[in-house]
């Protein structure tokens, strides 16, 4: 009975999440299209500065974007096309957006994905060991190391990875791990300062047991939430890394699209990033929900 009620609640929760994701993605696409349309330089094309183009050709350049002036009209047309699999054509690259995304998405997934995993491994290792060992010198080392990588510009880290022939995902890992480390270290330290943890340690419970059974459940929900957020941080980090390391991914595409005000490409990229961010954060919420219920049931079986 109890597991059925949990599954039912979970089902409705997931359904609610999915419908809010859909609504937010649609809204995100429209908002990003509006931001791009309202920003200066929307109608500008660097070919206007080419003196070999005559007045008619320059007028034709402006006309090419006439259909995008009415942002609602553009967005409705875009959605209609998207339902048939047509995501529009990129102005900057002259290619269908769908094929651009299909070619480049796997590169970003690989680079950002591995980078993120590595960042979590590095951040959590440093945070957990700092909590377990509690040497001031080690703590200072962790602070200095994470501080150092926070202070180095992402472009410099990417350039360093090129200089050292290191893979691009390492640069992403070094960009993201300081944030993971700092949040995790603080959350774990806070959990360690709880009176019942102090009492458990005073009674001689092993450090590993304290960490696994008491500290992690306390800090866990926030760290799961952090996991969702780090995905959008990693996607942001992929822009300079892909551009400098010559990786033909979404990040590189996003930068080109932004510089040339490529509306079809930018809307699609925003929709994609919004979808990924929402899915990641929603997955974190659902995981927290399930973890909370399981923990509560374990502690208070009659109350669930």
């Amino acid at each position: 009975m109890r597991s059925t009620s949990l599954s039912k609640t979970l089902f409705w929760k997931i359904l609610r999440q999915l419908s809010s994701i859909a609504a937010l993605v649609l809204l995100g696409g429209l908002l990003s299209a509006t931001l791009v349309r309202m920003a200066p330089g929307f109608d500008a094309d660097e070919r206007e500065l080419d003196p070999s183009l005559n007045a008619e050709s320059v007028r034709a350049l402006h006309q090419a974007r006439a259909g995008e002036h009415n942002i609602l009209g553009f967005y409705v047309g875009y959605l209609r096309g998207a339902m048939h699999g047509d995501l529009g054509t990129s102005h900057a690259l002259g290619q269908p957006v769908q094929s651009l995304l299909r070619e480049r998405w796997p590169v970003t997934v690989r680079v950002a994905g591995i980078g993120l995993l590595l960042a979590w491994l590095m951040g959590m290792t440093l945070a957990f060991t700092a909590c377990l060992w509690r040497f001031p010198a080690y703590e200072i080392l962790g602070i200095t190391l994470s501080g150092a990588f926070l202070c180095i510009p992402a472009a410099v880290l990417a350039l360093l990875s090129v200089i050292l022939n290191a893979p691009g995902y390492l640069a992403i890992a070094l960009i993201v791990f300081p944030k993971i480390y700092r949040y995790s270290r603080n959350l774990l330290a806070k959990a360690y300062s709880m009176p019942h943890i102090t009492a458990a340690r005073a009674r001689g419970v092993s450090e590993t047991r304290v960490l696994a059974w008491h500290v992690v459940p306390l800090a866990g929900p926030q760290m799961i939430a952090l996991a969702g957020v780090t995905i959008s941080i990693a996607l942001g980090a992929s822009i300079p890394v892909e551009s400098l390391c010559g990786l033909p991914g979404i990040g590189q595409l996003a930068w080109q699209a932004a510089l040339s005000r490529d509306l079809p490409l930018l809307v699609n990229l925003t929709v994609l990033v919004t979808l990924v961010t929402l899915m990641a954060n929603s997955a974190a919420d659902v995981m927290n929900f399930v973890t909370n219920h399981v923990t509560n049931y374990a502690l208070n079986p009659r109350e669930v």
Binding site: L35, C151, I152, A154, L159, R182, N186, P221, L226, L278
Partner: protein, 268 residues
């Protein structure tokens, strides 16, 4: 650890003092161009060498420290306060408020704010004073940098809402803003401190990147961000290692800040 905190305190004070005394300590103005010696190596006249147009790098580090040391923490404070307000409050209130806040935060994280920044630049007059430009830049950074932390805070606050001590506080008659400020917010400190500490270097670097949009610190004013951007052209750090000094200074200052921030974060 006390020794470390003392050292951190001294370092921070020395850096602040030196930046405030830049007018006396700097061997030359930050804008003076020694055109006979561009990209010069360190010497008696120029302790950290000169930049590409011959400006004394040591002078620029001193003056740049003022701007970045003052404004980046201020912007970090703004973003932390906003994160506490949106994330903390939403988690505390729960229910529909929490769902709406999370949706709003996720959307906020995904939008291309670059275009808002470009629009802001277009709205400002071209001859805006450097002070106003830099103030607006850091204010915008503060206003845009809260979302990631708010997401984590909402989860923390949500977990706290049903914790025993909060229920006890409610039972003893504490409600609303007082409950939030006295009991919930202090327990969100780990995330808030992390947010604050991370934001400072992120905003310093972002300010420099905003230079490409016409925002940020205008020439010839220096900032840490613009000094760190010099590193982007270095393909061999062995050739000009003195260019790493601003980076080392920033790392030392950031480490000192963290050691000073809170005692319970660094001891278990």
């Amino acid at each position: 650890m006390n020794l470390a905190r003392k050292l951190a305190c001294i370092v921070t004070l020395v850096v602040c003092a030196m930046s405030l005394a830049a007018n006396w300590l700097a061997p030359a103005g930050y804008a003076t161009q020694f055109r006979e010696a561009p990209s010069a190596a360190p010497s008696r006249q120029h302790w950290l060498g000169t930049d590409e147009v011959g400006r004394d790098r040591f002078a620029r580090v001193l003056y740049g420290t003022r701007i970045s040391l003052l404004l980046a923490p201020a912007a970090a404070l703004v973003s932390t306060a906003l994160a506490a307000l949106v994330g903390g409050l939403a988690g505390y209130l729960g229910g529909i408020w929490l769902r709406v806040a999370r949706g709003f935060t996720d959307l906020f994280l995904s939008l291309p704010w670059l275009f808002l920044l470009i629009t802001v630049r277009a709205l400002l007059p071209l001859n805006v004073s450097p002070t106003v430009s830099v103030l607006i830049t850091f204010l915008i950074l503060g206003l845009l940098g809260w979302a990631a932390s708010a997401r984590v805070l909402s989860t923390s606050a949500d977990a706290l809402r049903n914790s025993d001590f909060i229920l006890q506080a409610r039972a003893s008659g504490l409600h609303g803003a007082r409950l939030f400020l006295v009991h919930v917010l202090p327990n969100l400190k780990p995330v808030l401190y992390a947010q604050f500490w991370i934001s400072i270097p992120v905003f310093i670097l972002s300010e420099a990147n905003l230079g490409i949009l016409g925002l940020g610190v205008a020439e010839p004013l220096p900032s840490w961000g613009s000094l760190l951007r010099e590193l982007e052209g270095m393909i061999s750090f062995r050739e000009e290692p003195w260019r790493l000094v601003p980076l080392l200074l920033l790392i030392v200052v950031m480490t000192s800040f963290q050691l000073l921030l809170s005692n319970e974060e660094v001891t278990a």
